[in-house]
């Protein structure tokens, strides 16, 4: 009976071959004696969809090394797992207050099982991303029917955006999982007419876990509240249920509350800094970003499906619409935008799109002249959509994030002294990838509104100007760290290179400034990382400690033949030969020390005139000039 509800208009006799095809595709309703076949068919479909999810999320997972953010989370997990070396570079606090270390604790558990490698955190993410697919299935089944469930699972499993984030050791895959799980429990509780409190408590627990993975998980509570208010169901909830749900929520939030209680001042200071972050992106940023992963078919379908569902507005539609509305509005309005933020919304978009496709197919069947043929609409649609994902998925699997940083860091680990400091273009966190792989002190370069964890654990807040982004890691720290000998290697990297190369290697102002830093400090190219035959990372060794050499004159003693002076130079190429001239007369060659300094006693030949130049120049052409010297 249940089957005939799920597959309306199914009692028509049909040729056995067509029936067989439809059964395989999940179109034809099963007869009583066909139940076993239905179970097998569903199992095959489930295995197929799960196979797609597993393959796309796990294939070549370690092809490229960590990006900066991945390194931060993985490094924090390593600290939790007891790696004392990592404790120098990573602290157990979120610089942007975006998370409560829940994901890191899970990764630390995986480290205990498999050891500390960069594959482990990504596997944890991939597992969460894969497990979200059956949740989408169950959500579709709970809110609608089995066909919607299968469609939802297919659409989510083949979503390139979801795949891309499921392959990274970021928080988003775990957040997406707990977010969808919370909504599933909410859906089940609502479906039970609020009678089965177990679902309510499960929702409270899952919501608490989602928040601890990433604070934006709090949106599940807002979504549920909006749904309950909009549907009027909030009045049906009894006080006992509120108290029970609240208690479960607080219980599962306990780790975060303890974390906050340990250092509330630091937490609030970082929160203050991070809330001022914003992104200067166009208003269509998210649509374009999603399209860059999915192509235009999926995002356009999602929008159309939402518009259609607004008109239909069943109970299931309303819950999904609340999910989509709250999430989309929040991320669209929130000043800080990032490509990974929308992941928790994709299960909702997948379910609502599958629901609309199946419902439209059913309506076509109801009015079609050839209903048997019309029943092919839904599977053909899902099949076509699946086919359309081949290109985006292959692009996603081939794409690399910050390719070569891992290899560069490994080169540094092998070829530089343990105390060598490294500076790299940060974009907020790339320096941590260097530290993770090389165990070298790494420092950022660039403009970002985030605190910096210095090697050793000190947290430097950004120096926020009244307008614009901080410049302390462009103009203040780099020269000081280089002059002080703290930083002796500069690492320049670019995002995915063109093949064949076409785009310039220097595009942004930060890249231009970093190249200026390399040039100003006499950067010597030590190693280049190539990815697919194209250079992606360059490692430079600092060649001098000042951007411009300086020259000072002291101890002047005049004589009949000239003027005896002591010359002190600094900022020359390290260990280079410096030639000193006076009015084009060579006075001698002197060796600069390991800091690029030299001191020399020279005699300026008579006549000494203030217009004549005292010039000290090294073999690389770095020079300093002093004029205005007088004989007396």
């Amino acid at each position: 009976m249940k089957a005939s509800r799920t597959f309306p208009g199914s009692g028509l006799a049909m040729p056995s071959a067509a029936r067989a095809v439809q059964r395989i595709l999940g179109l034809a309703p099963p007869l009583e004696h066909e139940r076993a076949a239905v179970i097998i068919r569903d199992a095959i479909l489930a295995i197929g969809v799960l196979g797609i999810a597993l393959f796309t999320r796990f294939w070549m997972l370690g092809g490229t090394g960590f990006s900066g953010d991945e390194a931060v989370y993985s490094g924090q997990a390593a600290v939790i797992a007891g790696d004392s070396e990592m404790a120098r570079y990573f602290v157990l606090i979120s610089r942007g207050n975006s998370n409560f270390l829940m994901f890191q604790y899970l990764v630390a558990g995986a480290y205990h099982l498999f050891g500390i490698t960069d594959a482990v955190p990504r596997m944890v993410s991939a597992v969460f991303s894969t497990l979200t697919v059956p949740i989408a299935y169950e959500l579709g089944r709970t809110l609608f029917n089995r066909r919607v469930a299968i469609g939802s699972a297919i659409l989510l499993a083949a979503s390139s955006y979801t795949i891309a984030l499921g392959r990274l050791a970021l928080l988003d895959a775990a957040l997406g999982f707990f977010f969808a799980l919370s909504m599933l429990f909410a859906a089940k509780w609502i479906r039970s007419q609020h009678s089965q409190n177990l679902w309510l408590y499960a929702f409270a627990a899952a919501a608490a876990l989602a928040i601890q993975v990433k604070v934006t998980g709090v949106l599940v509570v807002v979504i549920a509240a909006l749904y309950l208010v909009a549907s009027g169901q909030i009045r049906k909830i009894r006080l006992r249920q509120w108290v029970g749900g609240g208690a479960v929520f607080v219980l599962f939030m306990a780790p975060a509350l303890i974390e906050f209680a340990i250092d509330p001042h630091q937490f609030l200071a970082l929160l203050g800094d991070s809330t001022r972050r914003l992104s200067n992106v166009p208003s269509g940023y998210y649509f374009l970003k999603l399209s860059s992963y999915e192509g235009f078919i999926f995002p356009t379908l999602w929008v159309l499906a939402v518009l259609i569902a607004v008109r239909w507005r069943t109970q299931g539609d309303k819950l999904l619409m609340a999910w989509i509305l709250v999430g989309t509005l929040f991320f669209q309005l929130y000043p800080l935008k990032a490509y990974n933020y929308l992941l928790p919304l994709i299960p909702a978009y997948s379910v609502i799109t599958a629901r609309v496709i199946v419902s439209i197919a059913d309506r076509i069947v109801a009015i079609a002249r050839y209903p048997r043929l019309a029943r092919m609409v839904a599977p053909v649609a899902f099949g076509a959509l699946l086919l359309s994902t081949v290109a985006p998925i292959s692009n996603t699997l081939a794409a690399q994030q910050q390719p070569g940083l891992r290899e560069a860091a490994m080169w540094l680990a092998e070829h530089t002294p343990k105390d060598a400091g490294v500076m790299t273009i940060s974009q907020g966190s790339a320096q941590y990838a260097i530290s993770f792989y090389s165990q070298r002190d790494a420092y950022p370069f660039g403009r970002f509104r985030l605190a910096t964890v210095m090697p050793g654990g000190e947290i430097l807040p950004p120096q926020l100007p009244s307008n614009g982004t901080p410049r302390d890691w462009v103009v203040y720290w780099p020269p000081r760290l280089i002059e002080g000998g703290v930083v002796s290697y500069l690492v320049y990297w670019i995002d995915q290179p063109d093949d064949p190369p076409d785009d310039p290697l220097i595009v942004t102002e930060t890249q231009r400034q970093f190249r200026g830093l390399v040039e100003a400090y006499g950067g010597q190219l030590m190693y280049t990382v190539y990815s697919h035959h194209e250079p992606t990372v360059w490692i430079y060794r600092v060649g001098k400690l000042l951007p411009h050499p300086s020259l000072n004159v002291a101890d002047r003693v005049a004589s009949k033949t000239g003027l005896d002076i002591q010359v002190q130079g600094a900022g020359y190429s390290l260990g280079s030969a410096v030639t000193v001239y006076y009015h084009r007369t060579r006075l001698g060659v002197f060796q600069a020390d390991a800091q690029g300094r030299f001191t020399a006693q020279v005699r300026l030949p008579a006549p000494v005139r203030s217009s004549y130049q005292l010039l000290a120049i090294d073999s690389a052409g770095n020079r300093a000039i002093v004029t205005g010297l007088k004989a007396t």
Binding site: A230, L325, Y492, L505, E519, T528, P535, L615, G621, R623
Partner: protein, 277 residues
């Protein structure tokens, strides 16, 4: 009864959605208003015809022209010079001009007090730089420089002709500087590109090293537009050195070197290959 209830719920849902939508729109507009600057359209200077030609490629030797918004490629402004300074990095001559009353509305007084006029090194031999407090007319491209400030400053950049009422006609520029460029024929992408330029003046009988000459470097891919710019001064031996990082797309490039001092100038070029490993 149930139909009325259903309608009520429906209205409530629609009302709630409308409220959320309106609140969103309001918040979005407020956010946009507080975070962005409202650009006020300003009048732009015209071109005084018959004095000099409007350049076809006004930005040929301007570093990073992409950072400039061109308002008009040919413009004339006039005013009194308040400051003349040489940019120590780009070696451009920067002139601050207090605009004449009828030119004052070309700039936003909240952003800048003076019109900024810039003469690039390649134009300096042929451009007469006025004295402070001198009145002059300036001919060049009228641009908004986005790098100078968050809102952008309005500048005449580059200026290729300056006419003053007091000055006598300037002597013509002389192509008498001899340049010798020493540069590698090929470098690996990213590695240092070191060039040494020897500049000698042939104005005297014996060519003498040119001290304190302005040397301007450009790197141009074949084919393509210039991708790198740099400037430096020659030392007492007439030698200028560039130590650059060749972070450029692998390919063949032309190195252009322009040297000048006063009215004297000279140019040399060479080809360099930037290659993969």
């Amino acid at each position: 009864m149930s139909l009325r209830l259903h309608l009520l719920r429906r209205r409530r849902l629609i009302g709630l959605l409308a409220a959320v939508g309106l609140a969103t729109l309001g918040a979005g507009l407020l956010l946009q208003a507080t975070q962005s600057h409202i650009l006020i359209p300003m009048p732009m200077p015209g071109w005084q015809a018959g004095v000099t030609e409007c350049r076809r490629d006004a930005f040929a030797h301007v570093p990073m022209p992409d950072s400039l918004d061109v308002v008009t490629a040919c413009a004339t402004v006039s005013g009194t010079v308040r400051r003349v300074k040489v940019d120590p990095v780009k070696l451009e001559v920067d002139i601050l001009v207090e605009p004449d009353r009828d030119n004052a509305n070309y700039i936003d007084p909240r952003v800048q007090r003076f019109i900024i006029v810039k003469v690039v090194p390649t134009d300096q031999p042929s451009v007469t730089i006025p004295q402070v407090d001198e009145h002059a007319s300036f001919f060049g491209a009228w641009v908004i420089d986005r790098r100078a400030s968050a809102t952008g400053t309005r500048e005449l950049y580059p200026a290729w002709l300056i006419r003053t009422s007091a000055q006598a006609p300037a002597a013509p520029a002389r192509n008498i500087l001899g340049l010798k460029l020493s540069a590698p024929a090929s470098v690996e992408v990213g590695s240092p590109l070191r060039m040494s330029i020897s500049v000698r003046s042939s104005s005297a009988r014996d060519a003498r090293p040119l001290s304190e000459g302005r040397v301007y470097f450009e790197l141009q891919p074949l084919p393509g537009t210039v991708t790198r710019w740099a400037a430096t001064l020659t030392d007492t031996f007439g030698i200028a050195t560039f130590n650059l990082a060749s972070l450029e797309v692998p390919g063949t490039y032309t190195i252009w070197i322009h040297a000048s001092k006063g009215r004297d100038y000279g140019t040399v070029q060479a080809v360099v290959q930037i290659r993969r490993r």
